[in-house]
Symmetry: C2
Subunit: 391 residues, 2 copies
C-alpha cells in the first residue's frame, strides 16, 4: 500500500509578485532576493561564521546595543518571543504583560506554558500605556519580568515611553522585555540607553529579509539571571546560552547547536547591509514621513485613523477605521484581485474594525503611499456600489 507521489507536485511552482502592504512580511529588495540563491553553506564553515559575525555586528547597530549576547534564533518572530520567556521565566515568576493590542495576550500563551504567573496591564482601547498606569501595575504585581510591544501591529499603537519604563524596571529590579518586531527601523529604539534587558525583532518587516530568522539580544543582567536559574531552560532549541555559544557571544568556543539556514543568513545579511548603507536615522525618518503622508491622505479621502493621538501611532503599521457600511473583506479582495496589492483587515481586538496598511522597507516610499491610498479609495468606492448595479 504505497502512498503515491502527489499529482500537484508535478505542476510548476507558482509565486505571484505582490505588493505586500499589510502588517508584514513586506517585500524583499532585489538584492535580498538575489542573495537567497547563493549556494548552501555548512553551519560550521568559516564563511558561515563570518556572515554570522557580520550579522551580529549589524544587529548590535540595529538595536543600539553593545550586549555580547546578541544573536539570532532560527525561527520566526514568535520564536523570538518564546526565546524571551523560556530563558527569563522560572516556575511561579510573576510576569507582567502590557496589552495595547494582541501581543501581550500572545505572550501570555507562552508564559503560562513555562509556568509563569501571568498578570496584565491593559491600555484603554486605541491608546498607549502611560507611565502612571504601568507604575500602578508594578506596585500591585511586583513582577520579575515585564513585557511590552514597542509597536502593536494589531492596533497600530506605538509605545513612546520605553525610556521611562526602563527606569521603572530598574527601580523594581524587574527584567524588561521589548517586542520590536513591527517597530524597529520605523521608530527610534535604544536598547542600552533605555535599559532594555531583552529585545527581539522581525526580519521580514522594515528590514525586508525573509521570515524564519529572528535577531535577539540579552543584556548582561538578563544573562546573569539565566545563569542563576535553579531549573533548566525549558527549551534546548531556544536556550540563549547555547545559541549564544554557537553565535560566538561568550568566551567559550563555538559549538554545533543546530543547523542554521545559510539561505536565511544571506538574506538577513544583505538586508542589514542595505539598512546600514541607507543610514539608520534616515530609514527611521523615511518611515515616519511616509506614515505622515499616509495619515494626511487618509483624512483627505474621508477616513479616520484608529489611534486618536498622532503620538501614539506606529509609523510602520497604520490602522484605519473601516467606514460604516463598508465590508473590509471586499476592499481587501478588490485590491488584491485587481492590483495584487495587500491591504489587511484587523487582528485580535481590531478584527473587522480596521484596515492595516504596512509601510515598511521597500514599501516605505511616497510612491507606494500614494499607490495604496489611491487603491484603498477606489476599492472602498467600488465596495459601496450594490452588487446589482454593477451588472
Amino acid at each position: 500500500m504505497e502512498v503515491p507521489p502527489p499529482e500537484e507536485l508535478m505542476h510548476p511552482l507558482y509565486v505571484p509578485n505582490k505588493t505586500l502592504m499589510g502588517p508584514g512580511p513586506s517585500n524583499g529588495s532585489q538584492r535580498v532576493l538575489d542573495s537567497l540563491s547563493n549556494p548552501i553553506l555548512g553551519h560550521m564553515h568559516k564563511e558561515c561564521f563570518q556572515i554570522m559575525d557580520e550579522i551580529k555586528a549589524g544587529v548590535k547597530h540595529l538595536f543600539q546595543t553593545e550586549n555580547v549576547a546578541t544573536m539570532c534564533v532560527s525561527g520566526s518572530g514568535h520564536a523570538g518571543m518564546e526565546t524571551a520567556f523560556v530563558n527569563l521565566v522560572e516556575d511561579g515568576d510573576v510576569v507582567l504583560l502590557a496589552c495595547t493590542g494582541l501581543w501581550g495576550h500572545r505572550a501570555a500563551e507562552m508564559v503560562k506554558r513555562v509556568n509563569g504567573d501571568v498578570r496584565y496591564v491593559e491600555s484603554r482601547f486605541g491608546r498607549s500605556l502611560s507611565i502612571k498606569e504601568i507604575e500602578f501595575a508594578f506596585e500591585g504585581h511586583k513582577p520579575q519580568v515585564f513585557f511590552i510591544a514597542q509597536g502593536d501591529s494589531s492596533t497600530g499603537i506605538l509605545q513612546q515611553n520605553l525610556k521611562e519604563i526602563g527606569e521603572l524596571c530598574e527601580k523594581y529590579n524587574c527584567l524588561f522585555v521589548v517586542d520590536t518586531v513591527a517597530s524597529l527601523g520605523g521608530t527610534e529604539f535604544l536598547m542600552d540607553a533605555w535599559k532594555v534587558d531583552m529585545a527581539y525583532t522581525g526580519s521580514q518587516k522594515v528590514l525586508g529579509a525573509p521570515p524564519g530568522i529572528t535577531p535577539v539580544s540579552f543584556s548582561d543582567r538578563a544573562i546573569a539571571r539565566i545563569k542563576a536559574r535553579k531549573t533548566y531552560v525549558k527549551s534546548y532549541y531556544f536556550d540563549a546560552l547555547l545559541v549564544g555559544q554557537y553565535w560566538n557571544c561568550f568566551e567559550a568556543p563555538r559549538i554545533y547547536h543546530h543547523t542554521i539556514s545559510s539561505t536565511l543568513l544571506y538574506g538577513l545579511r544583505e538586508a542589514l547591509a542595505q539598512f546600514c548603507t541607507m543610514g539608520r536615522k534616515n530609514v527611521i525618518r523615511r518611515h515616519q514621513e511616509c506614515s505622515h503622508r499616509l495619515q494626511c491622505g487618509v483624512e483627505e479621502i474621508g477616513l479616520e485613523m484608529l489611534v486618536p493621538k498622532a503620538n501614539d501611532r506606529l509609523p510602520t503599521v497604520n490602522t484605519i477605521k473601516v467606514p460604516v457600511g463598508v465590508d473590509w473583506r471586499k476592499v481587501s479582495d478588490y485590491a488584491m484581485r485587481k492590483y495584487k496589492l495587500e491591504i489587511s483587515g484587523g487582528l485580535g481586538p481590531t478584527a473587522e474594525q480596521v484596515f492595516r496598511i504596512g509601510l515598511m522597507g521597500e514599501n516605505a516610499t511616497y510612491e507606494r503611499v500614494d499607490l495604496v491610498l489611491n487603491i484603498l479609495h477606489e476599492a472602498i468606492q467600488s465596495s459601496k456600489i450594490p452588487e446589482k448595479s454593477k451588472i
Copy 2:
C-alpha cells in the same frame, strides 16, 4: 553614544561554491536554489496555503503515511526533535532513548528540560541495537515514549529493525518516535506500516532543500495522547495542535500561528517535486548503490569502515576509520583548501576517530563518489608526508 554601523557590512557578501560531502547540509540543486529568489509571500495568502498543501502531500509520500497531522515546523532538524518531546512528554513520563551514537544523548538534553524521566538503551560501539536488547530495556523501564534515530549521523549506524520495534511499542503501549533526519530517502521508511507515532526529517540532507524548515508527522494515536495531556505543551511555537491547525491538518479553520518563511517553503516544495519526479524507490536505490561503490573504494585504498556489519551501515553518512598516524584535520583541510570539498571528521562518540562522507541528494552520484575517493586518498597521502620533506 551611537553604536556605529559595522564596517564589514559594507563589503560584498562572499559565498564560495563548495561540494558538501559531510553529514549535511548537502548541496541544493539549481532548481531549488533558483526557487529561493522568488518574491516573498504572505503567510496567510492563498498561494502560500497552496504551496503548504503541496508540501504536506509530498511529505506524506516521503514518510509513507496517511497521518492527517503531517506538517512542517519552522526550524532546523533539532526543532523537529524538540517538537517530538514537548508534545509527547509530560512531567515524570519515562522516555527510553536508544543510543547508537550522539542523537539519543541529544534527545536527552530535550527530554530533561520538559521533566521527562530519561532512560537509555545503548548499543555496542559501531553496532545497531537488536530487538532483544530493546525488549530487555522495555521490560526494565516500561517507557511511555521510545526514541531512536533510524540513521545516526555521528557513527553512520543504520537501524534496520524499525518494523519490529514498532510492534514492540504497540505491545507496551509506548509511543514510537523516529529521527529520520539523516536517513530518509537513503533507506526505506514506512511510517504507517511500521507503526511509527512521530517522525521528523531534515530538509537539507537527501532532499537538498535549505535548512530551516522541518517535516514532521504525528500518528492519530500520538495526537490523541497530546489532546489528553493534563498539562500545557511547554512550547507555543512547537505546539503540534496549533502548528497543525495552521497547516490545515484538522477540521478546524486555519489560524495565524507564526509567520512562515515562504522562501524556505519554495525550496522544500521544489526539492520534494524533484524527489517525486525521480521516484522514491529510485532515489533510495541510488543512495544505496553510491554507498556500496564508496565502501568498495574505501577498501581499495586500504581504509576501513567504522561499522563492521554492512547491514548496519547508513548509506547517506559513511564513517571511515582514520588510519593510524593520520591527522583527520589535515585531510579535511586539504580537501577543502585544494578542492572546496567537504569531508568531515567525527562527532560525539566518533570525534577524532572517523571521516564522515555524506552521499546525499545531488552528491549521491557515481561521479561524486569517485571524486571524493580520489581526493580522500590524495589528502591522506599528502598528510603523511612529514612537513620538512614538503619544502
